[in-house]
Symmetry: D2
């Protein structure tokens, strides 16, 4: 991005800092087999993002940080397919019986972790997730997943709109193409979320749990 | 975008066509004085987008196509400011008494046109807009406004999620910087909306009204 | 209700008529084994309502009227239980593996009918249902199910708020106790929905399909 | 209600206790001139509820407890009227310029208190309120207002669904007719909220503020 464009954002007051609140959780968006497979919906730097999320998930579990996993699930008979399936007709093949809907092996949920099934990009759009998290007092979401330009961006925007503090873990999000990945990280960082590498975010978030340990 | 990236999108079934439904409306997002002014939130190609929306609005009115205008309005005392105002602290100055919140002179609403006041990027996020439009049988939204990477993108995504057919009028949307403008048009066209120049969209939409004239 | 109370409602303009629109669907709320069983969540006139819904479902299928079935489903490990489960702690036992979550035998969905899993009373609250129905052009819901004072009322109210025309089928809704059943029918009829016996609603709705047959 | 009906509710696990959380706020629903006036939308025990809310509001302010006021506001030209206005055609007269939309004199908001304008019964339906409150860490709502069978019930249900702990202040809610008032208090207390007289709720809630004083 040209330097004078960046100046425009700064002058117009964008790029402020949100910060990590007192009760963070880890949100892992759509790291399923289909989104990790370049022949289906994957490619680009998604495999790197998956690999770099493995230690983040391990650390979150060690801290007792709540974890949420999301996946796209459509009805087997396509009865719930909507406008999005006109834009990408293969989406509605992501049914419960389709192995591509399964989480990648290295990031499988364990008992007690929340699994949200959704039909649309945002983890929050009509999924009930906001109410569940608020009932638990969670105020901050560390966000990993894919794709940066799709479900991660939509989930991050909605997290902010629902009153959460969204922190995008820059090394733990990926996209099928690097141009959209970079462009969306820019938008997110300027307008909707803090961008942090996972090690820095976890280090700060850990302090929220230490006092209770 | 590299040619082989575009191939990835095509192979993965993105970029399908949604089409204009039987009952379109025109949605004009945030064309207010503050977003037209480079010293506030404007700049880039927003003035062009405003100018090119003028004949579109005139044509919509001539056809009897419903029109919706949105603007950001925060409480005078800042009581309703949320996380978004941490990222862009100047947003909450957009109150009813601030002239920057007024629509630009050339695109003022007339009686009978819907004006939606919102606090967040999406015209649909908790604004009541979806229900109002559905009650009237509107199924398609021709979308103009700014910014492409902000309120236009968020509104377009949510339009799709709420079951509308979103058509982004490529010459009637603008942003403070051209990089984000182009990058977001790409995402929108691949995943959430049809991209059409305004003359083509209006020509097709007009046929939906002609039969009743 | 005292006659002079009814006069108050009439004088204050309540009790207007909404009417059946051009594209109705049948919404069957929570007619599952657990809500039909007096030892679980059932009792009262729910068995009557189930029995009287059988011919309504048959007729809807014959007409080609879209059908939606809802049920409550919580995660097996209780990870998605919220505030509602404090008020009724047994709710979270309604998991996919619990036979009480199955639809009653006489009202099982068939392929192509929409099945909505929800955690909360309203069929619409964060379930994605509104967007799916709007994408199909559905504007009216004939509503059967249970309980009148719980999930039926909440679904009817939200149907109205999302821009649908709600028609409560008075003989096809039931509750575990008759007092709340009657009190809620009163509220619904005065403020949020038209009350119609199923035969009258189906007769009128049928005309919307006849023209296409 | 017959004693054996109450037994049914108890046996089926209803009527559990939610409790006041760590961060309560006071939500005053639609105590406007029009809803206090028996010639418009008022009557019944609404005047009592208004009077009994006066000391509650005073105490909340003294404690520093956040306060939210809601009112119904439709566009002057009726452009945003939906299905609800078919059921009660007078609703859409509640515009900003109509004095009946003003709050009653004894319960006027002061600077810093949140005022939510809404078109529909629930204070939460597409009003943005949930996100604003969650961003402030509020987890509990003490609820006053009118009508018990209308906007109070809808707001209480949605408060629960959005993850808040709803506490209905039994002496501070009212309705135009006593039958619906009582019937809805029953439903709310069994299924969606704790019922408490205002003095008891304030006494308990006050302890959440004392530690910070």
């Amino acid at each position: 991005m040209p330097a004078n464009d960046l100046e425009v954002y700064a002058k117009q007051s964008f790029g402020g800092r949100i910060g990590i609140g007192r009760s963070p959780a880890l949100l892992i968006v759509d790291f399923t087999k289909g989104f990790a497979d370049p022949a289906v919906f994957g490619g680009g730097n998604i495999p790197d993002a998956v690999r770099q999320t493995v230690p983040v998930l391990a650390k979150a579990r060690q801290l007792g940080m709540p974890v949420i996993h999301t996946k796209i699930i459509y009805a087997e008979d396509g009865a719930d397919a909507g406008i999005h399936c006109l834009k990408s007709r293969r989406l509605k093949t992501l049914t419960r019986s389709n192995p591509q809907s399964d989480f990648v092996t290295e990031l499988m949920p364990v008992a007690g972790e929340l699994v949200i099934e959704k039909r649309l990009p945002s983890a929050f759009f009509e999924s009930g997730l906001a109410g569940i998290l608020h009932a638990r007092g969670i105020d901050t979401l560390l966000i990993a997943g894919c794709t940066t330009s799709g479900c991660v961006r939509a989930s991050t925007l909605d997290a902010m709109c629902h009153g959460f503090r969204p922190i995008v873990l820059t090394d733990c999000v990926g996209d099928r193409a690097l141009g959209p990945h970079e462009a969306n990280l820019f938008d997110l960082g300027q307008k909707y979320a803090d961008l942090m590498p996972s090690h820095a975010a976890l280090e700060e978030a850990a302090s929220r749990f230490a006092t209770e340990a």
